[in-house]
């Protein structure tokens, strides 16, 4: 070998050394320096977690009657059997399920590396579809029918607003915070409570999903199964609601609204009733009409959301109304507590009164003659309360309204979206009108629950309860206890006295006696309650919402409690545009109380006396009520002051 060639061979050999050094260095870099990273990547390749969904907790009424459960629903899914998806299967499935083929293929596309999961195509299959799939079983490759829990609201629309529903929609920040506290992170697409206790108790109902670690191959097909964490089922809720009472209340509202509509009242259509335990704050019934069926909310949502009667809205806590004469206990409390009047003071009612250049009247301009507090309550004499309201003054009226639970938060935490309402006051008027003054004529309106006074049915129930129980504001609640899947009580709600109101027990007992007179002979609610085996105290109301000339009927209200001697429940009812108390709210309240105290609705008895009920109503209308020219009065008063 020549010297030159030897030199060149050596040079090539050095090049070979360099190559091997570079290769070794690169290997060392990958295998030693970056080992952790690539180890992690290889583990990522191998392992996948699949979620084992926790069964959601069930919901029961106070007696353990099942309200919400999980029903097995059938889900059809398509799986890769290791050789891709079969096009004939896809086209046949598309026909049976009535889904476009492209839709199925795009779903498959989205599943590129998740073939270990069956691809769900349609849930809650009807028996027809299941039958058709079964018939074509041999043609459908990789098609499975699986069972998946579907939330079932056993009583349909009953208590729908309290129970709520599940959905995949977004939820409010407050709800997400609640979950974060419970250690659960919200994921887009999760089926979560959207309303009612399904929403507020979401973290409790949800349970804890389990997990299964699986080893998958490059196609995502499962190869080995590893450690498994069993799901922990969600906790069961026991509500304070009494299912039967709830049903009675809802049926009574529906019956009343339909009767009004039948009579030609085209404005009637919405109503609400709340029944609360005066001794604890437990809500026994919360009924709204109209309602909706949470079982098929997702299909009907658009339609329900557009309905002018707002069936999705929980009127009991979200509707705010002028409350008419049901406010008169506030007026009395203010005047009595501030020593402006005594219960025996006599005022004269001529049916019409002109004060501060404003003429106001009693219902049908009826003159009640000489009235004191008790007789004024019984007949709901406006003229009496105008004067008492003026004696107390607007500031006292506003103060005692809040003191008695109106226009302030009730303390309910079991439902979301409660409205607070507004109290007629100088400050409030100033705020909404941009600084306008308060006129005495407006005090007269405010004294009978008009003007800016606007409260929710639940506030009325709390207010009635405070009057009934001697001045304690209990926090209203809907969830009595939480029981885990093993039957252990993990939470028991204790009645919570939020505060003792600053009204003397003497004043409260005077007011209760006044309320009792309402259901006595000569009282505005005598007819309906006279038939009950229990003594009831209450107050009717009709709240004017439009000028008299418009012909739009007033809202009909009733608040009451029973038994008078030892109160157990408070009831608040509103029938929108139901007219006077007796034509709308009173029959509903009476039916609720009858059921509560006797365990029967007395429907049969009422039907037997059908004829006499009509007569009684005619008679009652003679006796009854109040009517106020709210808007006109206020305007006139304004003009007067300007002059």
């Amino acid at each position: 070998m020549t010297k030159q060639m030897l030199r060149r061979v050596r040079f090539v050999f050095i090049a070979v050394i360099v190559v091997f050094v570079l290769l070794s260095a690169r290997l060392a870099y990958l295998q030693i320096l970056r080992h952790d990273y690539y180890w992690y990547r290889s583990e990522m390749n191998r392992f996948t977690k699949i979620t084992l969904p926790a069964p959601r907790g069930e919901i029961y009424d106070r007696d353990g009657k099942l309200l919400v459960s999980n029903r097995p629903g059938f889900v059809v899914s398509l799986m890769d059997m290791g050789e891709g998806y079969d096009p004939e299967t896809v086209s046949l499935l598309s026909e049976i399920l009535d889904i476009e083929e492209e839709e199925i293929y795009s779903a498959i596309e989205g599943r590129q590396y998740m073939r270990y999961l069956p691809l769900q195509l349609k849930s809650d299959l009807t028996p027809d579809i299941i039958a058709r799939i079964a018939e074509n079983r041999w043609k459908l490759k990789g098609v499975n029918i699986d069972v998946q829990p579907i939330r079932e609201y056993r009583e349909g629309s009953v208590a729908a607003h309290v129970l709520g529903y599940l959905g995949r929609g977004t939820v409010g920040e407050s709800t997400q915070e609640l979950w974060a506290e419970a250690g659960y992170q919200y994921q887009v697409g999760d089926l979560v409570g959207q309303d009612g206790v399904e929403r507020t108790w979401e973290p409790v109902l949800r349970g804890k999903d389990g997990e299964q670690r699986i080893e998958t191959n490059n196609l995502g097909q499962p190869i080995n199964y590893f450690e498994k964490t069993e799901p922990i089922p969600g906790n069961n809720l026991y509500l304070t609601l009494d299912l039967d009472l709830q049903k009675v209340a809802e049926k009574a509202l529906e019956k009343r609204v339909k009767a009004l509509q039948k009579e030609g009242n085209k404005y009637a259509g919405r109503a609400a009733a709340v029944v609360m335990d005066t001794r604890t704050g437990a809500i026994r019934a919360m009924a709204n009409y109209p309602s909706f069926d949470p079982n098929n909310i997702s299909e009907n949502y658009e339609e329900l959301a557009k309905d002018p009667l707002r069936p999705l809205s929980n009127t009991s806590i979200q509707g705010t109304y002028p409350v008419g004469s049901t406010f008169k206990m506030v007026t009395a409390a203010a005047a009595l507590e501030e020593k402006k009047i005594s219960d025996r003071d006599v005022y004269r009612c001529n049916g019409v009164i002109t004060l501060y250049n404003d003429t106001k009247s009693c219902f049908n301009n009826r003159a009640h003659g000489r009235v004191n507090f008790y007789s004024a309550m019984a007949v709901s004499c406006n003229i009496y309360f105008y004067q008492v309201g003026l004696a107390a003054g607007i500031d006292n009226l506003a103060r005692y309204a809040a003191e008695l639970g109106l226009g302030v938060p009730t303390g309910l935490t079991d439902l979301h979206g409660e409205a607070q309402g507004t109290i007629a006051s100088r400050e409030y008027k100033e705020k909404v009108t941009g600084g306008e003054m308060w006129y005495p004529a407006e005090t007269m309106s405010a004294a009978i629950g008009q003007s800016y006074n606007s409260f929710t049915p639940l506030q009325l129930a709390v207010y009635t309860s405070i009057l009934a129980n001697g001045g304690t504001h209990y926090r209203p609640y809907l969830v009595d206890k939480v029981v885990d899947y093993q039957g252990k009580v993990v939470h028991q709600t204790q009645p919570e006295a939020l505060r003792k109101v600053n009204v003397s027990s003497r004043t409260l007992s005077i007011i209760r006696e006044g309320m009792r007179r309402v259901t006595q002979p000569g009282g505005t609610a005598y007819y309906y309650f006279s038939r009950l085996p229990v003594s009831v105290a209450g107050k009717t109301g009709s709240a004017q919402v439009a000028a008299l000339s418009s012909g739009i009927p007033a809202h009909s209200l009733f608040v009451g409690f029973a038994p008078v001697e030892n109160p157990e429940i408070a009831v608040a009812v509103i029938v929108e545009h139901g007219g006077i108390g007796a034509t709308g709210a009173v029959p509903v309240a009476a039916e609720i109380m009858q059921y509560y105290f006797t365990g029967s609705t007395g429907d049969s008895a009422a039907e037997e006396e059908g004829g006499s009920e009509e007569e009684a109503r005619d008679e009652l209308e003679e006796v009854e009520e109040e009517r106020e020219e709210l808007d006109e009065g206020r305007e006139e008063a304004g003009r007067l002051e300007e002059e």
Partner: protein, 370 residues
């Protein structure tokens, strides 16, 4: 023709030992990579076939030792003719696989002319350059070897098999260099090749080949297709760490994440299972093998024998660099197998024959003195 005692004395047992070690590791890795393949029920299918061809290859290797390599010089023109005929034939009667025509089916055995061409072209070029010993000073002196290489190279390129055609360029340049061609002349050839690159890129390269080159430059370009192999190979090797996951414990293979794991990417299986120690150990074996071959070249009794050894060293080194470099993302993805380890009977046979040539040259290293 009996073997002289001196010939046996000069037989390079050291080289054979290195070869057996490499093939042993190769067989183990191949078995590990193939025994669990879901589509092949027989776990020994690949190992058995590879062992069969290893046996045949060792036999042929020893046979080659019996024939004094001097004779090959006279047969070179026939070798060249056979090369061209086979390469031309594969374009017409070849079996297509993965978009290219690389095999001629011969009963139970597929012949891969491009592999056969490697050993034949080593002999052909060694002969051409040995004839021109000391007469390679002018550029035109290089034209005959250049043209002689270009013809089979273009035929291979037409299959198309870019990787293997590159092997021939490197073989030509390496041998020209060692045979004494002027550096400037080699630079001109390299320059001309680079100048032709745009032509190659726009006219001749298939899309998948362009993609492979681009993915090499940026592996994240396409993590699901071309980049996928590369990424999975690096994950396999990197996750092996210093000592590896243990023989037969490659998760990348068992779960099918690594494509072509018994052929082009066998080295990643080794890296994953045996770790850095195993992979670097195999690199060391290769290095010693190359060293031994080049050493034999320096001991050769004539220019022809020296060039044959250099040719074998160049071809093996280049394939090792490109294949291992590919598995650790130092080189673009090409279909070049790893000598003595990748599954493939043609390559194994041809590589063993190449070692046979080197042994042959080594055995006859001393000029016979009478």
């Amino acid at each position: 023709m009996l073997l002289d005692r001196r010939l046996i004395k000069n037989f390079d047992f050291y080289l054979v030992l290195l070869l057996l070690a490499l093939c042993g590791v190769g067989m183990l890795t191949l078995y590990s990579a193939t025994h669990g393949m879901s589509d092949i029920p027989d776990p020994f299918y690949y190992l058995r076939r590879q062992l069969l061809w290893f046996g045949i290859g060792i036999g042929v290797m020893l046979l080659i030792c019996f024939v004094d390599y001097i004779n090959f010089q006279h047969w070179a023109r026939y070798f060249y003719a056979v090369t061209l005929v086979l390469l031309a034939a594969v374009l017409f009667i070849g079996r297509a696989a993965k978009g290219s025509m690389r095999w001629i089916p011969l009963g139970p055995f597929d012949l891969q002319p491009s592999e056969v061409a490697k050993i034949l072209m080593i002999i052909v070029l060694a002969k051409l350059l040995a004839d021109r010993e000391g007469k390679l000073n002018r550029f035109q002196d290089l034209l005959v070897p250049l043209l002689a290489t270009m013809v089979p190279m273009v035929l291979i390129f037409l299959q198309p098999d870019l990787g293997t055609s590159l092997v021939f360029i490197v073989l030509l340049l390496g041998l020209l260099y060692m045979a004494g061609a002027k550096r400037n002349h080699l630079l001109i050839i390299i320059g001309a090749g680079l100048a032709a690159f745009p032509l190659l890129w726009f006219k001749l390269l298939k899309d998948y080949q362009k993609m492979r080159l681009m993915v090499f430059l940026n592996p994240d370009l396409d993590p699901t297709e071309s980049g996928y192999q590369l990424l999975q190979s690096m994950i396999g090797i990197g996750s092996g760490g210093l000592t590896g996951k243990g023989l037969f414990n490659s998760t990348q293979v068992r779960l099918d994440f690594l494509p072509e794991h018994h052929t082009d990417f066998i080295f990643s299986v080794l890296g994953e299972e045996m770790g850095f120690l195993g992979a670097a150990g195999v690199l060391l074996l290769y290095f010693l093998l190359i060293y031994r071959i080049l050493w034999t070249a320096t001991q050769a009794k004539d220019q022809f024998g020296a060039l044959i050894c250099c040719g074998v060293a160049i071809i093996l080194s280049f394939q090792i660099l490109v294949n291992i470099g590919m598995t650790i993302s130092m080189m673009p993805v090409t279909g070049i197998p790893l000598p003595f380890m990748s599954y493939g009977n043609n390559a194994l046979l041809v590589n063993l024959m190449c070692i046979g040539l080197v042994l042959n040259v080594g055995m006859r290293r001393h000029k016979i003195q009478f």
